[in-house]
Chain length 502, copies 2
């Protein structure tokens, strides 16, 4: 096969996010000889490194002759410094896309096919459109064996944390769908105060207004490398880090980016995503919180039970002890929605503030008791007594500070530049709230990309409200985003149901 | 909602194909105020026109302050000339994506939901990734009602050709999968010589090495507007135009572009694509050719029958008379694969050349007889006699020339710059060929983008071959592409099966 003539590398100063783009002149020899047109997928080789990128074709003014331009991510992935000799050719046929097409038609993928897809994705060989096709094809049609294969392939796609033999490492995860349900920092603080080891790595939000990593980033540094995670755990028995920084299950981060753009979150991918991170982090036990409610991610008890069985089956196949807790999920937990607002609730519980949200505290205690019980630290009842004592005595708060110190110190919680308080439109009892639209409202205000953005509820279900009494406050960092969210609320008043006063 | 400060429009000289991209400086007020980052979907407004585009963020050197850059397609769609005042904001929530997500989960879409999706796609509101998600979700899971709704929405998305009342307009279509099966130009020539009216618009190839529009473009101008189509039909009773130029079912062209990138071709979308073009062109009768064979697009008789029923049901709902013919599809038709090579076969049949491929001629006669019969021009037997007489007497060839003249005149067939003849690797009988890999081989050589690229077979099934006897010739416009295809063949010798001589 003929290698094309070398071109000289030049940065374009263009940020195309995660999809690498290269730029060639329309009149370049290589475009004509190889038959390249805009959007052709091409293989770019520099020294011994290579990358598959999407081509944008440019006019003469934009690029000097005999040069090839790179977008920021393409430049970084190839570790270029400028003027390197670059050759380009058609990207090789991506055989694993045949397996993606097979899945679109509802056929079952083998372990090898799943592994090939995940390897190609983690090696950046898929375009965003191809990843979107894979996710869409599998969003609700992966069987248990395929999900096991997907999980294993995702673990194999990245690094793994190793720990001394026979050390118990426990972990917990909530599948989400319940705004404000930020139990993890509290659970980790109490459980590690009780002596359990928790090397907790968390994701950023996928479709929600905040993930645990987003919330923890408000309070401390979460961008730890593998050595820092291990050092933090040695010092404090636990850490609360962002998983994406450590190349544990890197394919997962690429899938999550596209899931976020399409606003989807399939069960199979979710189970694989959650458990691959746990296994790569070296966990031996994992507790999964599955909230069920009419507007939560899982809507019915049978769905929750099916998901629970799937988690346990995949865990079994990969030698991870998994317990699922199906919990009440009919309203948002705590008062805050969005990274900073949720951090406020977390600190209120850990500091035993009188106004701390009781629902958040009780959920955290339930989860911690189960973790202690799973790890062989006595009956559920005894575990609950121990957990409550650790929280109320302030030992959990001291332990939380120890973890944050080990990660780089506690930071002040940022305040939003703009806010808008909205009141009840008539008097009555707060009967229901739509978690999905509440989450959307917080996202329109800028969460999770803007940590201070989101909203704070001033009422919980069952509460009596006078007309005009504060119902919630919106927070945003710019007037544009605040207006954007307020405008959405104008068209969605019914996301709160207030029964009329008699 | 706050409108952002106006920016000045400037072309970037970058071709991003069909996905519009705009460029803003990272330090621009609007990026900070609106919270824009790379890949944000934004609404761009200029005077009374607007467009949804993907954002690329650029450094200061690339763009003057207070300017916004546009990719070629974004510039063209907004009909900009430079320095217009532009405002940008977050793209509105795309409600129809909720319906796409619903489909991913296997739920049925209503007529309204399907219409909303197609309207948004044809208004360019979807990113390529979102179109990929819609196509993947529906690739084999649309029911008959959804396909009817999709077809109707696609017709409504564009213009329609109108014809005098009660005029019969007949059309034919082959669902493809059989390389070289280029009957359309022959059928149109014979049928219109017999007095039928055929305003034939054809697609370019989706996953094959040539579509009828690609092949006809080798011979004449196919880029006709609506008035030219009507004028050609008035002059010559028929035309052979490219459908994409006339905004008949424009959403179809956008779907086909992404289907091509993903190399998929779902049944529901295919039926909607085919019939929406026919209905928009004003046809009253449509004959559909469904070849069945082990490596054709349809593999079994039951699949072909199911597809046939689907075509007829959708036709019935939209008042188009549809007849399907299930035909033999076990080997490539004719000798040529690729636009120019197929045009050579078409002319050989029309000119009654002694070496003309008999299989192509007989298929064309079968289809034409069915069209004449559907249109009430006598029994199948009588129609066949008439069709054969029109072909053999040269009347069909004269009629074909009349059509081409009306479209702008016949062009000489282009010759490829590079070719490579390959011989049988051992002596024996040619027992089978793999249509799919043959199609891939022609595509790797550059078909259909390079019209002269493709291949020419020198043997048909059942033929005895001596070792080294010419098996096929590859054609490409550059050595790079020729090598690329030859390399693929090196690894896929078994796409021809030659039984060993005894």
């Amino acid at each position: 096969m003929s290698a094309a003539l070398p071109l000289l590398a030049i940065p374009m100063g263009i940020d195309t996010h995660q999809e690498p783009v290269v730029f060639l002149r329309a009149d370049s020899e290589v475009c004509r000889a190889e038959g390249f047109i805009a959007n052709t997928r091409i293989l770019v080789c520099v020294n011994s490194r290579s990358l598959i990128a999407t081509l944008n074709v440019v006019t003469n003014e934009v690029l000097p002759a005999r040069h090839i331009g790179f977008s920021r991510i393409a430049w970084e992935r190839l570790a270029l410094s400028g003027n390197e000799k670059v050759t380009v050719r058609h990207a090789p046929v991506l055989h694993s896309m045949s397996a993606v097409r097979k899945k679109m038609y509802g056929h079952t993928l083998s372990e090898k096919e799943m592994d090939d897809i995940i390897t190609d994705i983690s090696q950046h060989r898929y375009s965003d459109m191809q990843i979107a096709a894979f996710l869409t094809a599998g969003v609700e049609r992966l069987n248990t064996d395929e999900i096991i294969a997907l999980t294993r392939a995702m673990v194999d796609s990245g690094k793994r944390l190793t720990w001394p033999k026979r050390l118990q490492l426990v972990d917990k995860h909530c599948i989400g769908g319940l705004p404000g349900n930020r139990t993890t920092p509290i659970v980790v603080a109490i459980a590690s105060a009780a002596g359990l080891i928790m090397a907790k790595t968390s994701s950023r939000a996928i479709t929600s207004p905040a993930g645990t990593a987003d919330t923890m980033e408000v309070l401390t540094r979460v961008h730890l490398d593998l050595a820092e995670i291990q050092a933090t755990v040695r010092k404090a028995n636990a850490c609360l880090a962002w998983g994406g920084a450590v190349n544990l299950s890197p394919a997962d981060d690429m899938l999550i980016r596209i899931e976020r753009a399409l606003d989807i979150d399939g069960t199979g991918q979710m189970v694989a995503s959650v458990l691959s991170k746990k296994i790569a982090a070296g966990s031996t036990h994992a507790l999964i919180d599955i909230p069920v409610g009419p507007t939560a991610k899982v809507r019915s008890q049978p769905d929750a039970e099916a998901m629970s069985q799937l988690f346990e089956a995949v865990g079994r196949a990969l030698k991870l002890k998994v317990r699922c807790l199906i919990t009440e999920g009919s309203e948002a937990i705590g008062y805050g929605i969005g990274p900073a607002q949720e951090a406020i609730d977390v600190l209120a519980v850990l500091q035993n503030q009188p106004a701390a949200p009781a629902d958040l505290r009780e959920r955290a205690l339930l989860l911690t008791s189960n973790l202690l019980n799973m790890a062989g630290r006595g009956s559920l009842g005894a575990a609950e007594v121990q957990a409550r004592e650790l929280l109320e005595s302030g030992k959990a708060w001291a332990q939380f500070q120890r973890i944050c110190e080990a990660q780089g110190g506690i930071k002040p919680i940022p305040e939003a530049a703009c806010s808008l308080q909205l009141g009840a439109r008539h008097s009555g009892t707060l009967l229901a709230m739509d978690n999905r639209r509440l989450a959307r409202l917080a996202k329109l205000a800028g969460a999770p990309n803007t940590p201070a953005a989101g909203l704070r509820l001033h009422a919980k279900l069952g509460q009596a409200l006078a007309m005009g009494q504060p119902l919630f406050t919106l927070y945003a960092d710019s007037q544009g985003e605040l207006d954007y969210a307020a405008d959405y609320y104008e068209h969605n008043h019914d996301l709160f149901m207030i029964g009329e006063s008699p």
